[in-house]
């Protein structure tokens, strides 16, 4: 297996040999921040392109084909358009909150993004409550959405924000429960540990039925968490113009847009990490030659491969089902997903205690 910590320690030692330790630490922080932000933006662009192409394929279309080869430059053109658009200030909005809201949303998703373990040794933040931290940071994005809806002084925005609040607070539970199911299986909250413990077999196979149930619940709740798919009623175009970001233009809207796509990436990344083994190659117990071959494929390829597979699954769900009503959304969560999740957690705990896992 490739160990990227060799490279990172080499850079660290090189910097420390050049300058005092405090300055080196500071410089490393800046470097990492730049890397994270660049990766964030690039992935967002990839995601938007993928969304358009996958959506088109599900609707029997080709998607953007004109700008650049196979439409590859279309997203860059869109981003450029977004950047040069005017940011409008409205008279009767709460200006501070109005301008703060997009940053809160982006902040939440960047923070969560930086916690993902991309490869062996490439993880910005790795500590013993990593999964807990991810849940905490990803859930305060709803604050930005609520602020955006409130400060826009627009009824559509307000309704969208309230829907989003009700939905995200509800589905946070299901996400938490399905994560907890996997934590019961892995016995740790530390992300690097979780990945390391899937070295013999991924958790979705190790935990068989309860893990699979948790995965399905996670996918449904994850789609709701990112305000996408059949749960996109906070920004239901046909009812609320654009929901909570109706009043935003230019990069204010761009932040919401990018954050939405990156939340999709983050949800998929977490699913790939805790269910499908993160950067861990596919290992089948007993097949040593196969396992050794799989180890030649570097970790980032595995991580991004799995993540984009889960993203594809979520897009498949999104472009298949029609939008739910708000009462149906809440019913689905409180009457179905959460009780099933709780029972599932119980079954998983029983399996772990009795040693019924692989």
């Amino acid at each position: 297996m490739y160990d990227f910590s060799i490279i990172t320690t080499a850079i660290d030692q090189f910097l420390r040999s050049l300058m005092p330790s405090a300055l080196a630490t500071f410089l490393e922080c800046v470097l990492i921040a730049v890397c994270v932000l660049v990766a964030y933006v690039l992935l967002a662009i990839v995601m938007i392109f993928m969304e358009r192409k996958v959506c088109a394929a599900f609707q029997c279309r080709l998607g953007p084909m004109r700008v650049g080869f196979w439409g590859l430059l279309q997203v860059f053109a869109d981003v450029f358009k977004m950047i040069i658009k005017e940011i409008i200030d409205f008279k009767r909005t709460d200006n501070l909150l109005y301008n703060l809201a997009p940053f809160l949303v982006v902040l939440s998703s960047v923070l969560t993004f930086s916690c993902l373990p991309f490869a062996n040794g490439i993880e910005v933040l790795d500590f013993n409550v990593g999964l807990f931290f991810i849940m905490a940071t990803s859930s305060f994005g709803v604050l930005g959405i609520m602020l955006a809806g409130w400060s826009s002084n627009n009824k559509f925005s307000m309704i969208g924000a309230m829907r989003s609040g009700a939905q995200m607070v509800s589905y946070e539970l299901s996400i938490g429960l399905s994560m907890l199911t996997l934590v019961a299986l892995s016995g740790t909250l530390q992300l690097s540990e979780i990945v390391a413990r899937q070295a013999d077999m991924w958790f979705i196979f190790k935990g068989h039925l309860p893990a699979l149930t948790a995965f399905i619940i996670y996918l449904i709740a994850g789609n709701a968490e990112t305000n996408r798919g059949p749960f996109d009623l906070p920004e239901a175009e046909s009812e609320l113009t654009a929901g909570y970001h109706t009043e935003y233009s230019g990069m204010g809207f761009g932040f919401f847009y990018v954050a939405e796509f990156m939340n999709l990436f983050i949800v998929s990344g977490i699913a790939a990490t805790i269910f499908l083994g993160g950067w861990m190659p596919l290992h089948v117990p007993g097949l040593d030659a196969f396992n050794a071959t799989m180890d030649y494929i570097p970790g980032p390829v595995w991580f991004f491969g799995k993540t984009f597979f889960v993203i594809w699954l979520l897009m498949w769900i999104k472009w298949t089902f029609p939008r739910l009503r708000i009462d149906q959304v809440i019913t689905l969560e409180w009457k179905y997903l959460m009780p099933i999740g709780l029972v599932n957690l119980l079954i998983m705990t029983l399996c772990v205690v009795m040693g019924w896992t692989f």
Binding site: A56, A57, F58, Q59, C60, R61, L62, M65, W316, I317, W319, T320, F321, Y336, I340
Partner: protein, 149 residues
């Protein structure tokens, strides 16, 4: 559908089944060949349906003769008045009777709404619609066409 009283678990299984059947439909759609036509690039392979009505034409045979008898039915049938027929009377030398013949068949493509009433009204099948749809011009005078030769 018969409304039944579902139990909790049967609701869940029913929901899963129906969701999966929906997912199956979109998955097959994902892999079917796409229907998008990339128009200017695919001019050579472009296939337009035979029934497509793009422009009125008057077919001529190899002698340059058309089948129009200048009866004016198409002109009367046209709701937009986009057809105007200029005729003249010619006396037949054998019988001595006068007969209307076509001088010019003027068709204004800019007024036409492609309803095909003229083609249906024609007793001799002298006019028909063709597939040639690239009719954009810069001057609307160019849209007025003389169909007979």
């Amino acid at each position: 559908m018969k409304r039944e009283r579902y139990t909790y678990l049967s609701t869940v299984t029913f929901a899963l089944k129906s969701l999966l059947s929906g997912l199956k439909v979109t998955l097959t759609e994902f892999f079917t060949p796409k229907v998008t036509e990339q128009y200017p690039e695919n001019r050579k392979t472009l296939k337009i349906s035979e029934r497509h009505r793009a422009r009125l034409t008057m077919p001529h045979d190899e002698n340059g003769a058309n089948r129009c008898i200048a009866c004016g039915l198409c002109q009367n049938a046209c709701p937009n008045g986009s057809i105007s027929i200029v005729t003249k009377s010619v006396t037949d030398e054998e019988t001595g009777k006068s007969k209307k013949v076509l001088v010019s068949y003027e068709y204004d493509l800019g007024c036409c709404m492609f309803c095909q009433l003229c083609v249906n009204a024609c007793p001799k099948n002298a006019i028909e619609f063709c597939n040639d749809f690239e009719n954009a011009v810069y001057d609307r005078k160019k849209l007025v066409q003389k169909l007979n030769r």
